[in-house]
């Protein structure tokens, strides 16, 4: 044993490792080995427990070692969750050495994959992953800061330098939008364009400002650790703003956390969207992929919520009956959407069949978790206080989902089938039946989405526009525009659609509409048109095609939903198809941060279309918190 080596420089000593494995023998052996490596070890035999421990305090551990096959939760799911929530390096272990399984691990973002029995020599090197990740994260942050500019420049028709006046940017955007929206109509979009432009300008300015202020040159960006509380604040802010309107800058303002930069929020937002997307049912289109987010809900997670699926919170707050929670969890843990087809579709299902917009539009003004609707499919009447007709919605959704499911799936794949199968309910955010992606995500989206209603700038904004969009993906932008604009609080409402590029872009999306149902729908409109840049959420990545539009479209606002949609879209929404992809790509780059954090979440989907997160240069880091600060474990010689 090279204890001497370990001692030398104290470098990796003190590394805090969390080991998760259902086999007690493995735990015992690994613990001893790790202790001999002078690491600090915590073992647990259940994934749920591990998650709880991690959520309690994200700083506690530097690294997670997890088994692949565990009874209570699939190791890959845990892997994704950890990457998503805590962005810690995760090393998988298994006696299973089959290449495809190992590949799966890599794709899910594992830093490494060890074959059991794990030897001491292998464990001695695990600290490298921690360091590597940290440094590459920092690098990505840097790159990301500068990437915005790059991506902007790369945007077709855009020769504007980001640093230039916003007009240029907006022009660029508009131009891009116009590309997508060519069919839509230029004239009608005149107003839209201008509003879009304006919006873009604003956003752009914000971005630029942020980017610049981020000081890309500072290589040492402290990494932000997204603790449970912080994440909760984030979620609240997003809820408050509404999925569509959730721009990093706004979120940042709402969160009001000193030291947190927009980039941090942006990258986290991206991850979050990706997460939502996955919940919403990416699985539908990617049957082979495990539903990573199936498992966020685990009964044992007492810490609850990171805002993701705060089931616990919901249950606690009485919104979700415990039984429902159990059902949800069970479904989620089942992993396959097979039993709950609806779940898979989740986002695809238009929340409401172009139906009662009003109720839906209500969306959650408050981002409270309570607003989240539990999947209607679960037959749990969502008791969101803010939702006027939860039951109705739930029912509708349920029905929709049932019906749509197939459709959605189909439509998604088919990309733009104009209105084909699109049940597209106005962005009804289809809450994945069992997966409540994020509470507010889903519900918000759904509500918002479906309702293009003008619901007054609810915060969620996206509904307003979305509803129109949803309805007919093909909707001309003008329509959407008007609807959007009509929304009055246009400013509030989903910015995305403002002009709607969203809708316009829809045409290609047709398929999208159905699934986007929820807010995401709206987004996708935007995405299509807009700006990849805005595609914050990682979803863009996945969805590359359709989603991009969505997310991107929303002008940075679109959030969450697109993600979801993306997931769905992935399957095929070719919404914007090429156009989007392009944008999406770019957007992705920017937004990748979340995904890119090493969890490679999107990679699955994005594999073909989007560069896998790891490849993205802009892996915007969440920040600079010292999640894994070298100093923490002796990199600087002190532990």
């Amino acid at each position: 044993m090279d204890r001497a080596d370990v001692d030398e420089g104290q470098f990796p000593a003190g590394l805090r490792v969390l080991v998760v494995d259902d086999d007690v023998i493995v735990l015992r052996v690994l613990k001893t080995m790790l202790l001999q490596c002078r690491y600090e070890v915590t073992t647990c035999s259940q994934a749920a427990t591990a998650l709880a421990l991690l959520r309690e305090s994200k700083d506690t551990y530097h690294l997670v070692l997890s088994d692949v096959h565990m009874p209570d939760m699939d190791g890959f799911k845990l892997l994704e969750l950890v990457g998503l929530e805590m962005d810690l390096p995760v090393i998988m272990m298994s006696a299973d050495a089959r290449t495809n399984i190992v590949m799966k691990g890599i794709k899910h973002g594992a830093c490494d994959y060890l074959i059991k029995p794990v030897r001491m020599e292998e464990l001695k090197n695990i600290w490298q992953h921690v360091v590597r990740k940290k440094w590459s994260d920092n690098n990505r942050d840097l790159e990301n800061s500068g990437s915005f500019e790059e991506s902007d420049r790369n945007i077709p028709n855009n020769n504007v330098n980001i640093n230039n006046n916003t007009n240029n940017n907006s022009n660029k955007r508009v131009a891009e939008d116009a590309e997508y929206a060519s069919s839509v109509n230029e004239d009608g979009s005149g107003g839209w364009k201008s509003s879009q432009k304006k919006k873009r300008c604003t956003v752009k300015e914000e971005e630029e400002g942020e980017t610049e202020s981020a000081d890309p040159s500072s290589s040492k960006k402290p990494r932000v650790v997204w603790s449970v509380e912080l994440h909760q604040q984030f979620v609240n802010a997003v809820n408050q703003l509404g999925i569509e309107k959730a721009v990093p800058k706004r979120i940042l303002e709402l969160m009001n956390v000193p030291g947190l930069t927009r980039e941090n929020v942006a990258s986290h937002l991206q991850k979050f969207r990706l997460y939502l997307k996955r919940l919403s049912g990416v699985t539908q289109h990617h049957p082979g992929l495990p539903n990573p987010f199936c498992g966020p809900v685990s009964t044992n997670i007492k810490t609850g919520p990171l805002g993701r699926l705060d089931f616990e919170t919901l249950v606690a707050s009485g919104h979700i009956p415990p039984q429902a929670l159990a059902v949800l969890e069970e479904e989620l843990l089942t992993q396959n959407g097979s039993k709950q087809p609806i779940r898979e579709i989740a986002f695809g299902q238009p929340l409401v069949k172009c139906g009662p917009p009003t109720s839906l539009t209500r969306q959650f003004p408050q981002s409270n978790l309570s607003n989240i609707t539990i999947n209607p499919s679960l037959d749990m009447p969502p008791s969101f206080s803010n939702w006027p007709s939860n039951n109705d919605i739930a029912q509708i959704m349920h029905q929709q989902q049932q019906q749509q499911q197939q459709q959605v799936v189909g439509s998604v794949g088919s990309v733009p089938q104009p209105n084909a199968s699109l049940n597209v309910q106005p962005s009804c955010l289809v809450i994945p039946s069992s997966q409540q992606m994020n509470n507010f995500q889903v519900s918000d989206n759904a509500i918002l989405a479906s309702q293009s209603q003008q619901s007054p700038s609810q915060g969620s904004g996206f509904q307003t526009g979305s509803s129109t969009l949803v309805q007919s993906p093909m909707m001309l932008p003008s329509q959407s525009l008007s609807s959007l604009q009509g929304m009055g609080s246009a400013n509030q409402n989903f910015q995305i659609n403002q002009g709607s590029s969203i809708i316009a872009s829809q045409p290609s999306i047709s398929g999208n509409s159905s699934y986007t149902t929820v807010g995401s729908v709206v987004d996708y409109n935007n995405n299509l048109i807009s700006t990849p840049k805005n595609l914050r959420f990682g979803v863009g990545q996945i969805v590359d095609e359709g989603l991009k539009t969505m997310t991107a479209a929303s002008n940075n606002n679109s959030f969450s939903m697109p993600g979801m949609m993306s997931g769905m879209m992935n399957s095929g929404v070719a919404v914007s198809g090429a156009l989007m992809s392009d944008n999406n790509r770019q957007v992705r780059r920017n937004n990748l941060g979340f995904v890119g954090k090493g969890t490679c979440l999107p990679s699955r989907f994005a594999m073909d279309e989007i560069e896998s997160p790891t490849n993205l240069p802009n892996f915007s880091q969440i920040g600079g918190g010292d999640l894994v600060n070298p100093e923490n474990f002796g990199l600087d010689g002190q532990i």
Binding site: D22, V24, I25, V26, R28, V29, H69, K116, P117, M120
Partner: protein, 160 residues
């Protein structure tokens, strides 16, 4: 003297275990991990293994008895058992576990002969049980010898 003999016996028993394939390299790793901080580490882990594996095997027994053709479940159990074997280096048991899993998989492929497959699985399981019991016996003897011979190894001072 006595201790020396005991130690010699223990050593030869141990060597036999390796030579006959009961244990593999992983066991070396375990031994390496044993140190002053965890002086009985190997024995502890082995004890843990036998306890845990006994439990798993009871589950498998039950599943087989019921003639439930849930081969997936059996496969899962066996995977767990195999994992445990791997962790301590129980090489022969591991091999038998692999064989068992092959039987299960065969079943999945040709479901029509599930009954005969079940028989095959049962027979394979018997082998596993046998290996399990033999290994346990040998290791118990080994540790007993070690314990008896132990003081000699640890003692650095002359008899008091």
């Amino acid at each position: 003297m006595d201790y020396v003999n005991l130690r010699r016996q223990a050593a030869s028993l141990r060597k036999g275990l390796f030579d006959q394939g009961y244990l593999d390299e992983q066991f070396y790793q375990l031994e390496d991990l044993q140190d002053d901080a965890s002086p009985n580490f190997v024995e502890e882990v082995v004890t843990l293994f036998f306890r845990d594996s006994a439990r798993l095997m009871a589950n498998i027994d039950q599943a087989l008895d019921k003639c439930v053709k849930d081969f997936n479940k059996l496969d899962v159990y066996m995977q767990q058992l195999k994992g445990s074997c791997t962790s301590i280096g129980a090489s022969r048991m591991k091999t038998e576990c692999t064989a068992f899993r092959e039987c299960c998989r065969d079943e999945n492929i040709e479901g029509s002969h599930s009954l005969s497959i079940l028989n095959l699985c049962m027979r394979s399981f018997q082998k596993i049980k046998r290996e399990h019991s033999v290994l346990r016996q040998k290791l118990e003897s080994y540790f007993q010898l070690l314990r008896q011979a132990g003081p000699v190894e640890c003692a650095t001072r002359p008899n008091k």
